[in-house]
Amino acid sequence: MKQVAIAALAARHALHARGEALARAVFYLAILVVLASLWRALGASASYVWYVALTEWVVLAMPLLSIDIEEDVRRGDIAYRIARPVSYLWAKVAEGLGNGAVRLLMIGGCGGVAAWLLTGTPPPRGILLSLPLATLSFFLLVLWQAALGLTAFWIGDTQPLFWVWQKLLFLLGGLLFPLDVYPEWLQRAAYMTPFAPMLHGWARLAFDPDPALAARTALLLLGWGVALIAFLAWLYRRALVVLDVNGG
């Protein structure tokens, strides 16, 4: 499959461009140190540090595909990339996945060791359950990034939209605090969006290793994933119409 070859090459490319991953890893470690101190001061269990280590891990490993796509649209490169016998959209998604996979491993390795050292406790039992879900969630984040990038066909600059999306993800996904500390109504509202299962849904397994919770989150992520793929395919078709009508 062509996309597998693209993802593999993107992963190799990312291995040769380690600077950005290292910068993200340093930022990640700084966040972990601050939050671990905060949780310790609040008297919370070590599991909460592991929770933040998990949520921050996938968010910081996420490739900024939206910027890549926006630049392709702005510079007009997209018109030329379309003239190849592989879908531009799915080639970009494959590139993001390959690139992100390397970051997941690099940042994840650093984070795992750091969280262990900071908490003094080994990874909780729920981590094993959460890892496949984290990978699925990461896939969804890449799809979101591609969708945000494609909006450049209409709005030109995707950064304001990305900013809003990112803040919704942080807030309704429970990036820094598990949704359990939110009021009941906000928890319910968050679970009506795709954001809650993308972070809190599986990272919660760090302190609540419930297989039923894992299964529910997996179903939610799969459902949102299917919806997102369908939306992305539709958005791409619309983008090609815009390219045809407004020019490249």
Partner: protein, 327 residues
């Protein structure tokens, strides 16, 4: 016999959004952006035979890129028809993609941190090329383009000229029958330009591939192509052999002399001094009245030369001359 590229009355109109001024205008823009129509290509017709090398020239905004995008199947025309290798490009884009190649001077398809060999291997997968065919074709092109020593060097460490040679190899790996080249020598030094031009021409001759080249550099079209199509304001102004164009329009050359003497004087028919500075003289030479060789000999008699360059007039000037004569 059908042509490699057949274009009949091709027209493309874009709707361009216009952002009005003021708060009310901005709000209206967000809800329903006002648009105006721009005619990018206006009833263009031409035919290119298999193996022909044709320059497609015109000033910025003339409609070159839009025509090429339609021929590559990226855009649908508003009116008219086109066939590339027998395919309707916008209807058969995917099948056509296997048989055409593109080189865009300012855009890269090579992966920056990896050696070109890796991009070549990926392209083999993208174009469904089996390993044996890929290895054979790559060996041919690597030999022809002299990039054997560059194959395992990360692309970021290559010079612009080396990178461009690798870019062209990448575009030719799947043995396209039609090659679209857009400013393939932009930003290159004189030597690298000459190398790229010769390689493109020789590869087209060897493979029998058709070349459609757009460039602002008259040297590109003179060295690579046999025929020129001139487009201006979306309309085809001229379709002629390059030799005719040279005879009719490229009569003027710009000669820059860097001399040992501070100033030199050259009084010859058809030679005008357009710029002078200490040790530097720029001349405009009408080659019908005085050949370049005679100017160089006279300059050598007048002073020792530290450097000398001979340039064609810019494409814009040639197109303007064609445009003026077409009116």
């Amino acid at each position: 016999m059908s042509g490699a590229i057949e274009v009949e009355d091709l027209r493309k109109v874009f709707r361009v959004r216009e952002r009005p001024k003021g708060l009310r205008g901005t709000l209206r823009y967000l809800v329903r952006p006002p648009t105006r129509e721009v005619v990018a290509v206006d009833g263009v017709s031409f035919r290119i035979e298999p193996g022909e090398r044709v320059a497609f020239v015109g000033p910025n905004g003339a409609g070159k890129s839009t025509t090429i995008k339609m021929l590559a199947g990226i855009l649908h025309p508003t009116r008219g028809s086109a066939r590339v290798l027998g395919f309707v490009p916008w209807g058969d884009r995917k099948r056509l993609a296997y048989r055409i190649g593109t080189v865009f001077g300012q855009r890269t398809q090579l992966w920056y941190h990896l050696p070109a060999r890796d991009t070549f291997a990926l392209l083999a997968r993208v174009y469904d090329q089996d390993d044996a065919t890929h290895a054979r074709r790559r060996a041919e092109l690597v030999d022809a383009f002299g990039v054997g020593k560059l194959l395992d060097t990360p692309v970021r460490q290559l010079s612009l000229g080396e990178r461009m040679r690798c870019e062209i190899v990448a575009s030719l790996l799947h043995a396209p029958q039609v090659l679209f080249l857009d400013e393939p020598t932009i930003g290159l030094d004189v030597t690298a330009k000459a190398v790229i031009r010769d390689l493109v021409r020789d590869t087209s001759r060897r493979d029998g591939s058709t070349v459609l080249l757009t460039s602002h550099d008259t040297g590109d079209m003179e060295r690579v192509c046999d025929r020129v199509l001139v487009i201006h304001n979306g309309r085809l102004l001229l379709d002629r052999p390059i030799a005719d164009l040279r005879r009719t329009y490229i009569r003027r050359k710009v000669v820059t002399l860097l001399t040992a003497d501070e100033r030199i004087a050259l009084a010859m028919p058809g030679v005008t001094v357009t710029e002078t500075a200490p040790h530097r003289t720029v001349l405009e030479v009408d080659v019908d009245k005085t050949p370049i060789e005679a100017v160089v000999q006279a300059a050598l008699r007048a002073s020792r030369l530290n450097d000398l360059t001979v340039e064609d007039p810019p494409m814009e000037e040639i197109v303007q001359a064609i445009y003026a004569s077409a009116r």
